[in-house]
Amino acid sequence: MVHTASAASAGNEISTCVTVCSKVTTRTVSNWTSTCCMRGCEMTTRKTKSTAEKTNSLRVRMYRVGFGDFFLVIVPTPSGDQHILIDCGVFKGTSGTGDLGSIADAVEDLFQTTGGKLALVIMTHRHADHIAGFKVERFKDFKANMVWMPYWEQFNDKQPDSANNMLADIHDLAASLAIQFRGRGDSDAQEALAQLGNATGIDDFNAAATDKKKRVGNAVALDMLKDHLGSQGENVRYYAAGDKPELPDELKDLKVTILGPPPEKAKAFLALMDLKKGVGQYLDSMTDGTRGPGPIEPFAKEWFAKTKDYPKQDELKYDEIVQRVNSAQPDMLAVAAAKIENFLNNQSLVVLFEFDGKKLLFAGDAQGGNWEYWLYQMEAPLKDPTNARDIVEASKELLQTIDFYKVGHHGSTNATPIPVVEAAVARPKTNKGFVSMCSTEKGVYGNPDKDTEVPRILLMDELNKGSCLVRSDSIPITFTDRKTNEQKTINPTDGVTLPKPKVGTLMKTKLYIEYAF
């Protein structure tokens, strides 16, 4: 083909043409894209006794809300338990079934546990599946001492014309992209719409477009985080890798290292510079500027023809030709939507907690670029991941000593690089291993036939073998459905059960799983 790093190839055709996706038959660093063995998650299970919550142990609680992160870390201190909330969101996803409806009850439960007092709130990034819960009214009764957000979020304030405003356009870009997808029913379009919905928190782009002044979707959640919990921004802190974070007094025994997102000097890792120009150009190059959004019509209707104007030959099957060309259409819109998705995921705040000799790694939804920055400590991102060298010793050592890992991006293929699992799993025999927690819901995103299912079966298998993998969809939950006001029970995903950790205890309630260690 003729160019460019910004084009997409059509489907899985061979890529003499396009630079972006060709089938790489060698093993790539960040993707679990081999043909996987479709083994179910057979685990030896023992009923965990709901042992009394030891007040002096560190606890991590994962609420089952569906497809979304909602984590609470309870830190025992001399002045009593202190609470760190890491994300609170859920999103319906491509299938529309990602939101189980339990988030309101979960937030209520959080209020009961914490008394509405949060020492620290961490928003890893601004996707609906990490922040939608902050739209729940109850949050107005919460108070937080401090709110942490990823570095890049500070440029997404309410000043639309600020020179630094790199993110303010995401909403607009996503909204105009979504309008382009109107009327498309194919699966790629559905996935792209889901990505855009996740980026903006908007369900109905048509309605949102008619009332631009009203803050909707994620904007409402962000207002809650920045204005209410963050006291009009006064208590909001923005961090990138390498920053020394400021902790509230209650948590001074906690040691925190910020591993991601890459700092401003390394913004190439986020593909940040590309976004506005890239997505903007996609839109620009594909729409008819004079008549508003709409595809370019290169020729007037006088030039339109029917197949009967073309020669009749047995070898020329026009139906087939139409089908072949249609299915070879590059989905630039989908590429643009995916760009926004990856861009936001890569902003994720990646946090390492150390407390009482235990290490906890919360990776948000970090993807390739975010990981690469600290795993390899490189100056510039890799263009060809097949050429990755080994990760640096410091990162390896860190991964080998973690006690807890929050699995990135709900266990999807692009968020836990193979070398990370390899390094984390490669421990001396005497080591007690680690617990990985994955908040996910099967069947919401992706397709096993395309190796895109979330959670990725292959990754789950590896984590299951190498660590004690706890999935949010392994427990049944019961809650009040806000639409019908009736009690509703959701069963665990088939074949997914709660394991027994080597260290500490797991307990479950009707809304969450809690790990004490």
């Binding site: 003729v2 197949t307 299915s327």
Partner: protein, 606 residues
């Protein structure tokens, strides 16, 4: 008096007496007009943004064939279906008398029929150039013939994935891109709106058609041709393979520039004969600092830039790529972060370095005479006759190098090509065709590749012999009985089936020597006879055969759970038809065997 068909027919009629004698009226009716050799068709030499200057509006002469509206010919069919708007556009009928007289529609951006006409003309011209270089009729990609799992036999006949006629879709999609797609059985050209901020010579937001860029058409058709010759170069097994496909397509497109006489003359005038210069001297001299009128602006050299309009429309302010984009730097090849087009640019630069070196050698005497007659090298004033001679030398040299580059394809390994392999192929192919190398082409190529750090992995010395493939030692493989070499117009279906079966049998029988695992299926994705005239005037006939074997390799032998990925071993064979002896042709002799094995130390590394 020449014998016409009609008189022959008349003679037949007379002898058979099967039909009554036909009445012949006028002389014109008796003498049939001979079929023309070629058809003149107007097109852009570069793209619409170059306007009418530099001979940008040119007439190509493509081989004559009867055309149906489309144009739909024998090898290619232009089908103007727009996948974004879901519409067909009216097809051009190049056999319409008014268009025949006018050499087609005059270049314009607004008439889709001109777009169809240009795509047809440039694609046909590209095919012709390749056929003349390769010495055979090219064919498109065919689906791999695999044995029927039930019978273990290969079914004869066509397959769904075969491409017998390449479709060209001039307005297939909205995209700043064009792509050869075997799935779509053709080439999809995109159109898009130029950048609204920095569109270069385009209007902000104007619609730009990739199908009107001469370079882009040649580039994509070259992808399609290469895909028909080397089936597995489109599998991205290493960064070199993808880069090679791109580089090769760029090389083909760039060499076309040097066949555009008017553009060539203009550039020679504006560079003082130094064709490799980045910029042209402005028409009007720059007096102080900034240009005030357009004639004073420094223009890019159109000959070494690829797809100028396209590049500018995307807001880059320059051509998409260039023949000489980088300064030679042997370390750059080792940078693992290069994207295929960037890596490919190194190969392109190496080839064009060699080209300009040969051009300068070729023309050094002309420049000496020029200086002896009072001319100065610094002056950009070059006399008309000298410019003509330089243009001749430039286009002849371009043609020579293009042929060398194309012929080398037959000498490339079947899978996993590296740039170093291509250098070996270039040197070996040229030694076969021009043993004496009076122009010093091979030396120029070797030096240019070395300057850029491209070397074959296991070369012992930096000499022609050491940089060629070593010929197969006699006796290593048995001679090949019964292969049909056919003639330059191709093989019949029966001959193809016969050869296919024979080649697969031969591969199985000699699997280990050929570099394959025994008792596993070896496929023969392609075989082509090649006909070349040797320096002594005789004809050499070779059969170029690709063989391949697929194996599933575990990602990590220690952890089979990670799954497997397919890898191929492949071999290229050059089988020569022996000379006529005692009234018979002997068995085919295998001259070269170029292997890429899966097992052994080389396989481990892969």
């Amino acid at each position: 008096m020449p014998t016409t068909k009609r008189t022959l027919k008349a003679a037949k009629h007379k002898s058979t007496k099967s039909k009554p004698k036909r009445k012949t009226s006028t002389l014109a009716d008796v003498f049939e007009i001979p079929t023309p050799d070629n058809r003149p068709i107007k097109c852009y030499a570069f793209d619409p943004s170059h306007g009418k200057f530099f001979g940008n509006e040119m007439t190509l002469r493509v081989k004559y064939e009867k055309l149906l509206p489309g144009p739909v010919g024998e090898r290619i069919a232009v089908i103007d279906y727009d996948g974004a708007n879901k519409k067909f556009y009216k097809p051009v009928n190049l056999d319409d008398p008014s268009l025949l007289i006018a050499s087609g529609i005059s270049p314009t951006e607004s008439d889709p029929r001109f777009h169809q006409q240009m795509v047809y003309a440039v694609a046909m011209e590209t095919i012709q150039n390749f056929e003349s270089a390769l010495g055979r009729r090219i064919r498109w990609r065919l689906e791999e013939r695999l044995p029927d799992p039930a019978t273990g036999k290969i079914q004869p006949g066509k397959r769904d994935g075969d491409i017998w006629r390449l479709n060209l879709y001039p307005h297939a999609m909205v995209s700043a891109n064009a792509a050869y797609s075997p799935a779509a059985k053709g080439i999809l050209f995109g159109y898009f709106r130029a950048s609204s901020v920095d569109p270069g010579r385009n209007l902000p937001g104007q619609t730009v058609f990739t199908c009107l860029s001469h370079d882009i058409i040649v580039h994509e058709v070259t992808h399609a041709i290469l895909d028909g010759i080397r089936t597995y170069f489109s599998e991205r097994t290493s960064s070199d393979v993808a880069a090679f496909h791109e580089a090769f397509a760029d090389i083909a497109a760039l060499f076309r520039h040097f066949s555009h006489k008017e553009a060539l003359l203009d550039t020679i005038q504006k560079t003082g004969g130094r064709l490799y210069q980045y910029h042209l001297d402005p028409d009007a001299l720059l007096t102080d600092g900034n240009p005030t009128i357009q004639a004073q602006k420094l223009q890019d050299n159109p000959l070494i830039g690829l797809a100028q309009q396209f590049g500018e429309a995307r807001g880059t302010g320059r051509a998409l790529r260039s023949a000489l984009s980088e300064l030679p730097d042997p370390k750059k090849m080792k940078n693992p972060n290069l994207e295929p087009h960037e890596l490919g640019a190194i190969l392109v630069a190496a080839v064009f370095d060699a080209y300009f070196t040969v051009y300068l050698r070729q023309t050094s005497d002309l420049f000496r005479i020029f200086r002896a007659g009072g001319g100065t090298v610094d002056s950009r004033e070059i006399s008309g006759p000298l410019a003509n001679l330089l243009a001749d030398a430039a286009s002849k040299t371009a043609n020579t190098l293009f042929k060398i580059c194309v012929r080398a394809i037959d000498y490339c390994p079947a899978v996993d090509i590296t740039f170093g392999d291509y250098l070996r192929a270039l040197i070996t192919a040229d030694r076969d065709n021009h043993p004496s190398d009076s122009l010093g082409v091979r030396d120029a190529l070797m030096q240019a590749f070395r300057l850029r750090g491209i070397l074959p992995e296991d070369a012992q010395y930096f000499s022609e012999e050491s940089l060629s493939w070593s010929p197969l030692e006699p006796g290593t493989l048995p001679d090949f009985e019964g292969l049909i070499f056919g003639d330059p117009n191709g093989l019949t279906r029966e001959e193809r089936n016969h050869n296919g079966d024979l080649l697969r049998q031969y591969a199985q029988a000699n699997a280990e020597t050929l570099g394959f695992r025994r008792r596993e299926f070896i496929s023969v994705p392609s075989f082509h006879p090649a006909f070349r005239v040797t320096p002594d005037g005789s004809m050499r006939i070779d059969m170029v055969v690709e063989m391949a074997q697929k194996a599933d390799i575990p990602y990590d032998p220690k952890r089979p759970a990670l799954g497997t990925f397919p890898m191929r071993s492949g071999s290229t064979l050059l089988i020569t038809k022996p000379p006529f002896k005692d009234g018979n042709y002997g068995a085919g002799v295998i001259r070269y065997l170029i292997r890429r094995k899966l097992d052994g130390p080389y396989g481990e590394r892969r």
